[in-house]
Symmetry: C2
Subunit: 154 residues, 2 copies
Amino acid sequence: MLLSKSCIYGMRAALYLASSSNNKYISIKQISNDLDISPHFLTKILQELTRVDLLESQKGPTGGVRLKRAGDEVTLVEIVAAIDGMDLLTECALGLPGCGTAKPCPLHEQWADTRDEIKKMLQDTTLSDLVRKGKEGNLRITADGSFDWLPKEN
Amino acid sequence: MLLSKSCIYGMRAALYLASSSNNKYISIKQISNDLDISPHFLTKILQELTRVDLLESQKGPTGGVRLKRAGDEVTLVEIVAAIDGMDLLTECALGLPGCGTAKPCPLHEQWADTRDEIKKMLQDTTLSDLVRKGKEGNLRITADGSFDWLPKEN
DNA sequence: CATATTTAAGACCATCTTGTCTTAATTATA
DNA sequence: TATAATTAAGACAAGATGGTCTTAAATATG
């Protein structure tokens, strides 16, 4: 698997938040309901994103979480880095420590190129990019496609 | 992590076997010694590769495992498919079942391209390709670089 | 044929990831 | 101020992966 489940859930939730126009606090319970993710588990994941300042949170009634920066200023690589770490984008495909141009493994060259493609994709894609695409095509971010991208207009 | 440890170990062992010119049976114990991999664990992994006919094995003294086909006819994707399965190369990056051109997720387009790059890399790289590179540059397939690519000449 | 060596098979345990639950702290609001 | 709602924190359970060990089956060789 490329990304852990935690990371995937984090990305889906970030997309959810980025699709909200007014950027008000939204409760994790609502997010977990709409995205069909276990609420406690999602809470733990979003706490991590709050800790690294991708989200901000507020407790109590009317509390919840929201993006700390605008969606067009948050790229996927930041979410991946926060949850899965940068290992995928830096480590050797054969698992050899210190593998690099100076001390490569036989697969290093090929994998370095491929790895850079992944990195570029994650760096070049913002939350807003995906929200735009999602709203235009009414695409799904849940298994059953129940998420509605509301509100549709900004 | 892109590939599981089992898969990485399987690839390293396959490289080891492909680097042997005469393709005689080599005991798993010797491989595990030279590559510094737990012998029992490696045995289990190589059994899997034997099961899918990438390797063939013989029991008893002078027994061991060897490549069933020539190294230039075995690509990395076969090893990955045998051990980790094809999930990495077919599944949605957001984990949505049935994600594809017909019913995409917002990230589908980008990820499909990137995924194809990974696939192409694994499909285009043969064991012999890596052995050649390894012998030419005396590159390592162990953490400490102790593997010697013997014999150097074929 | 007896023995030693090797793979095959699977039980078993450790560690990591995934997921659940409980309690505490915070805060809006009646 | 009391209450209810919410995040924060962390203990705990379940499941997957990584790794060890034991026993059985096969086989080369003395």
